[in-house]
Symmetry: C2
């Protein structure tokens, strides 16, 4: 068998096939075998669902595994390829980045066949899976450091037509928020690489903080809604229930909508995701490390918004983002 990265099975085979994406060994570690399932019901949308890119965002891997239980039966057309865990070493370490090379898998796309392990994973996905599909859902969450509203997100895309298509796809999840997110540095993201090929990429952020049953249910309903919108499964889309509410709104975040900490210290959130806030409302308290040299600071909203994300209780540096307070988006 080839020692270069390859798929252990034929994705073109009709029906359900299980196998692995073999990621070649390198100077830093042995080869990896990432479990892959291919659900091929012929013509129709061609979709890749990936999860576990960041090893401490485990909502995605669990929901991807659940999909494998019901989607083969429910699927009526098209192709769905599912990779529940893109970065097994990061998952084992419960860390955002890969422990061996310290790299963020979502910043090294399209990767390098002769690079370190994170780059080799990105390369195998870019060359062996991405050409098979037109749409990608890459499942993320806030991880333990962020409380994040269930949201399907995209970054702004220069191509207006692709931006519209992406936003419509994101809205089809019917999660409480659809978010267009202006990031400071999107180089090497899976998102931008897929979009550079004219394909639709949606990044669902499936909660954050502790992973609970309610968050997993919301995530699963959202993905089912998107599959219904694509015509891959039949059924009625339904808003998932989040805190007794069934609703959805589309927002955007500019960099100026990020609320930053005025100093370093222990941040204590005083709001929850999806809280409606006005200018002056309390978002959190910053406890300086030395309370005898400076007193606790109240961090307040500078805008009218709905809380998309707020940092967990942890130490933050001066100017570190502690909350994301988006604005309505009309496209």
């Amino acid at each position: 068998m080839s020692k270069t990265s390859h798929l252990t099975f034929d994705l073109d085979k009709p029906g359900t096939s299980r196998g692995h994406l073999f990621v070649a060994k390198g100077a830093d570690c042995e080869a990896l075998s990432l479990p892959v399932i291919s659900l091929n019901k012929g013509g129709g949308p061609r979709l890749l669902i990936t999860a576990g890119s960041h090893g401490n965002e485990l909502e995605g891997p669990i929901v991807a595994r659940r999909l494998v239980d019901w989607l083969p039966e429910a699927q009526t057309c098209g192709r769905v390829i599912i990779v529940p865990v893109l970065n097994p070493q990061a998952v084992q370490a419960w860390s955002r980045n890969t422990p061996i090379d310290g790299l963020n898998l979502n910043r090294v796309f399209p990767g390098r066949a002769d690079g370190s392990v994170t780059e080799r994973i990105a390369d195998a996905v870019s060359r062996l899976l991405l050409p098979m599909v037109d749409i990608v859902f890459d499942l993320h969450s806030g991880g333990p450091r962020w409380q994040f509203a269930p949201a399907s997100t995209t970054h702004p895309i220069a191509d207006a037509d692709l931006m519209r298509k992406t936003l419509r796809m994101a809205e089809a999840f019917k999660l409480p928020l659809t978010l267009a997110w202006e990031g400071p540095d999107t180089r090497g993201m899976f998102d931008t690489f897929v979009q550079s090929q004219g394909k639709v990429f949606v990044c669902p952020e499936l909660g954050g903080g502790s992973v609970d049953a309610a968050a997993l249910t919301i995530a699963e309903v959202g993905i089912r809604n998107a599959l219904i919108a694509l015509g891959i499964v039949k059924g009625e889309a339904e808003y998932p229930t989040f805190r007794q509410q069934k609703s959805s709104r589309t927002v955007e975040t500019l960099e100026s909508d990020e609320l930053k900490s005025p100093a370093s210290g222990i941040f204590e959130p005083r709001c929850s995701v999806l809280d409606e806030v006005k200018p002056g409302d309390l978002i959190g308290i910053l406890h300086p490390m030395d309370p005898w040299s400076s007193s606790a600071l109240e961090i307040r909203s500078h805008t009218t918004s709905i809380v998309c994300a707020v940092k967990s209780t942890l130490h933050v540096d001066e100017n570190e983002v502690v909350a994301i307070l988006p604005r309505p988006l009309d496209l």
Copy 2:
């Protein structure tokens, strides 16, 4: 000023004094200055409250800071020394252990004046603060890796009289659980070092997973109850409300009460802390890293119990503890 570890102020001064515990510099890093507050109202119990030993258990530091706001006014007698953050480097890194030397502060007591930074902190606490008190509350929590019921805990103590006194002090918190916890290896714990001096040591575990306002309120009520029981403040002790219930029970955990994972994989909890469980009840699901080579495993209770702690959603190894299912304790 002395370059060896010392207190920057006189703990014997009457009234409220603020200063620092200076921890000498070593080969690995510069000196540290840990904020300390001394509340001295003369005769009565002599109590040390510490927090932030593990840098990702931040309930304690926040509650310790809140105490500083109201305790000086409420205190009627005795002495209380509060150190809100014992291990500032671990807090800054949001890590259990100190990043510089990789050591667990709660496993290196009594420490070493010429050791690495974690050992130097333990040494300064052991030599400079501990002789001033008869009772220690060291505030911990489950951290992000564990959902932990609000509990005041102790390890079993060979001295039956000290064990009884410790358990009575722990029960005075009136938290939902009082737990005597048989640990596999308690060498170097702050607990055992304090107890070896015949002093009372209680370790409140103030929740776990995401830190929320409800957990902080419960923690603060628990500590106030303990201060009332000691006669340091006046008032009525009250059970804190946890999930609409006001109750408290005393339990113990033998090593055989720890539920272990049958294999390695992603653990998904399916129960909550303080759930009542019977043999066969579902505690969690273990998703193996390669679902094509082995299927998901249900992890079930082997006993009738109340869930004291359950692991967060994360990767666990074979035989790693995923839940603590204690039994009633009568002493």
